[in-house]
């Protein structure tokens, strides 16, 4: 569970906005089965690191999709 205070440690925003953002992140975390520690790690990263990680995730996702399609049609 992410608290607004934790968000404010890494991102500057209004407390109300932080509350709103924390609630959005918590909903995502709950719905998509993501560990709150993982979210905290992401919050600590700067935009460049985040983009790199996003790129990495996209590559992994694409590989998984290829693997899925391959397995789907293999006898």
């Amino acid at each position: 569970m992410i608290k607004p205070d934790e968000i404010l440690k890494y991102i500057k925003m209004e407390p109300k906005e932080a509350e709103q953002f924390a609630s959005e992140l918590n909903i995502l975390s709950e719905n998509l089965d993501i560990d709150s520690e993982q979210i905290k790690e992401l919050l600590q990263k700067d935009p460049e690191q985040l983009l790199k990680q996003k790129y990495q995730v996209e590559i992994e996702q694409s590989q998984l999709k290829k693997e899925f399609n391959k397995k789907m049609f293999e006898k």
Binding site: I11, K12, M13, F21, E24, L25, L28, S29, N31, L32, D33, I34, Q38, I39, L42, L43, K45, D46, P47, L50, L51, Q53, K54, V57, E58, E60, Q61, L64, K65, E67, F68, K71, M72, E74
Partner: protein, 170 residues
């Protein structure tokens, strides 16, 4: 071994010499034997042919199972005759009937056995294929879960990047 013995052995290996009428009788009783076996070992011919079905379209006029029984009875009877030559007409009828019935039953048992073997082999293949498909399905589910996780991670990163952009603008 003297020549007379050798001739006797060779003669016993030959098929029986009979009059045509005896052969006709033999074939008839062998067919009766095969038919008897067909009635006792298999489903009644009336049922198999569908003669008791009120719908004439569902009645069969040719049933290969029954014909196969008759032919197998005849074939077995010929084999028995070759081995056990009858000395009288009544012996001939008796042997023909028994051989027709017994031979048909033996061959039918063989066919049943083969059918069971084929069925078991098919069952084993299907079970194997089912196991393979289940394994494949589980692997696909695992990959799908991983893809969902990656998608979620990406959505999360987008959210944080957006927040950071807002921060930079203010």
């Amino acid at each position: 071994m003297d020549s007379a013995n050798a001739t006797g052995i060779l003669a016993s290996l030959q098929i029986v010499q009979m009059h045509l009428i005896d052969w006709v009788w033999f074939v008839v009783v062998a067919l009766i034997g095969g038919f008897a076996s067909s009635l006792i070992n298999n489903k009644r011919s009336i049922d198999r042919m569908g003669w008791d079905n009120p719908d004439p379209l569902k009645r069969k006029h040719l049933n290969i199972g029954l014909i196969a029984d008759l032919v197998s009875g005849l074939a077995a009877a010929l084999a028995i005759l070759w081995m056990m030559t009858p000395q009288t007409f009544f012996q001939l009828i008796g042997i023909g009937t028994v051989a027709g019935y017994g031979g048909s039953a033996v061959l039918q048992a063989l066919v049943n056995r083969l059918t069971i073997d084929v069925s078991n082999a098919e069952k084993a293949t299907l079970t194997n294929e089912k196991t393979q498909l289940n394994t494949q399905l589980n692997q696909l589910r695992d990959i799908e879960t991983e893809i969902k996780k990656k998608k979620a991670e990406k959505a999360l990163i987008d959210k944080i990047v957006e927040a950071r952009k807002k921060q930079a603008n203010t």
